[in-house]
């Protein structure tokens, strides 16, 4: 982040590197995120819209749907998809660059690795994760409304009214913060394991596996800590 800010403030930033990283990590994930979000949103709204009225607590539907989609499932599902797509890709790319001598060559040419490899990819993953988390939430709501329209949940007018009255600023801030944390975890782990590759091509798949497992584990721990602390406050 220090390198990113230093380059930005001295106007030496090469925007195309960052845009390329955002497109690779984010834009190309839109189709899979859309499908998963639609299905998840439809499922959540269907379940809450049908089961909670039976228990006489239909007034909680809005709060639960918003909290679950924007606060828990949305960010975590987005993180899982970004991990599956970006962690392995970035760790393999950096690892292969190490094995082929490209990383040493970049440094020997007087170019800071952080400027063209590490910072653009980290910023790209963080920005993409935040944006995709919001996108997931919006598409999930669309999926939920579709369920209501099809009569598989509470009436859509009721659903819209309940959500309107329950939406708060925290429902928008939470995806931002969680996306930031997950993005930081995913990008740091990917770069770290890619750089750990030394000279043998055999190390590339080993470090890639470690990157995937580490990113999954750390993201799960983050989710657990969030759930514990949010239930205590």
């Amino acid at each position: 982040m220090y390198d990113f800010l230093r380059l930005a403030l001295t106007r030496k930033l090469s925007l195309h590197l960052y845009l390329h990283a955002i497109v690779t990590a984010g834009l190309s994930a839109l189709p899979i995120i859309s499908i998963v979000a639609l299905l998840v949103g439809a499922g959540i709204v269907a379940e809450t819209g049908i089961e909670l009225p039976k228990l006489g607590i239909q007034n909680l539907v809005g709060a639960i749907v918003l909290h679950v989609i924007f606060g828990i499932v949305g960010p975590f599902a987005t993180a899982l998809i970004v991990i599956a797509r970006s962690t392995s890709g970035l760790a393999v790319e950096i690892g292969n660059m190490r094995v082929s001598g490209e990383l040493d060559t970049i440094e020997m040419l007087g170019v800071n690795l952080s400027y063209i490899i590490i910072t653009p990819n980290m910023v790209g993953i963080i920005v993409s994760t935040i944006a995709l988390t919001f996108y997931f939430g919006i598409v999930a709501m669309v999926g939920g409304f579709a369920m209501a329209l099809m009569g598989l949940s509470m009436p859509i007018a009721t659903l819209v009214r309940i959500i309107e009255t329950n939406i708060r600023l925290s429902d928008l801030l939470l995806p931002l913060l969680e996306g930031l944390f997950y993005g930081l975890i995913i990008s740091t782990v990917s770069v770290y394991h890619g750089l750990r590759v030394r000279r043998s091509p055999a190390e590339v798949p080993k470090e890639t596996r470690l990157a995937l497992v580490s990113a999954l584990a750390l993201s799960t721990v983050t989710l657990s800590l969030y759930l514990i602390f949010s239930s205590l406050t």
């Binding site: 090469s14 001598g101 490209e102 020997m108 007087g110 400027y115």
Partner: protein, 224 residues
């Protein structure tokens, strides 16, 4: 005369316990175009990496452009690397960049030239080395001659004080060899850049090298 590179009793290699070159003493002055010949595994690439600050010395001293390089700071490393034009072993271009982006890499991200200034700087070399048809291609589309040519242009683009070539002739056919020799002869004649080439084979058809040295485990011995 300015001393560009100086090693005194330097232990060079990838491990302290078994350095490839246990004790190297060498001084390269401006204008002393030198070829160092050594067999595979003797430590030529390790020497290149030590000169460029990727590997540290295990013993002895190393000065580059009259500055101590034992524990170089980032600004010092950057300063030294910008004064040296490097053609690495096998050329080594970045696979995810086009030929143009590869050539522009040190100017764009090392010297932070604007894209227009980079284009102006590269233009004469595009013509001289017939690079126009290659500019939008990726390294996977090129043969070894072309890769070495592009790596060479990248190395000389900023008129470096020292041109460091790691196995420049390896993989080249006769035509490529003659083109490389012509380019080196032109650079030697201009006088602004000193050439240090490391090669597996002694090359008799390169008269522009004032000194030809053989690198062994015992250090450097003069052949010519």
């Amino acid at each position: 005369m300015e001393t560009l590179i100086e090693f005194q009793g330097a232990a060079i290699g990838y491990s302290r316990e078994a350095p490839l070159i246990p004790r190297l003493t060498m001084s390269l002055k401006k204008g002393d175009h030198t070829m160092i010949v050594g067999h595979c595994g003797v430590g030529k690439s390790a020497l290149v990496k030590t000169i460029m600050g990727i590997l540290s010395l295990w013993d002895g001293t190393y000065q580059a452009f009259e500055r101590g390089m034992e524990n170089p700071s980032e600004p010092l490393l950057s300063y030294v690397r910008k004064k040296i034009g490097l053609l690495p072993d096998r050329g080594i271009l970045l696979q995810n960049m086009t030929v143009f982006q590869n050539i522009a890499l040190p100017l764009r991200f090392g010297h932070f030239f604007s894209i227009d200034k980079v284009r102006d700087r590269i233009e004469p070399y595009i013509e001289e080395f017939s690079l126009e048809p290659l500019l939008e291609l990726y390294p996977c589309d090129l043969n070894i001659d072309q890769i070495k040519k592009i790596g060479f242009v990248r190395a000389i683009l900023n008129d470096p004080d020292l041109l460091l070539l790691d196995d420049p002739y390896e993989g080249l056919d006769d035509e490529g060899f003659e083109k490389m020799n012509r380019s080196l002869k032109n650079i030697a004649e201009k006088g602004a850049t000193t050439i240090l080439a490391l090669s597996r084979k002694s090359v008799d058809r390169s008269p522009h090298f004032k000194n030809v040295l053989r690198l062994t485990q015992d250090g450097l011995t003069e052949i010519r």
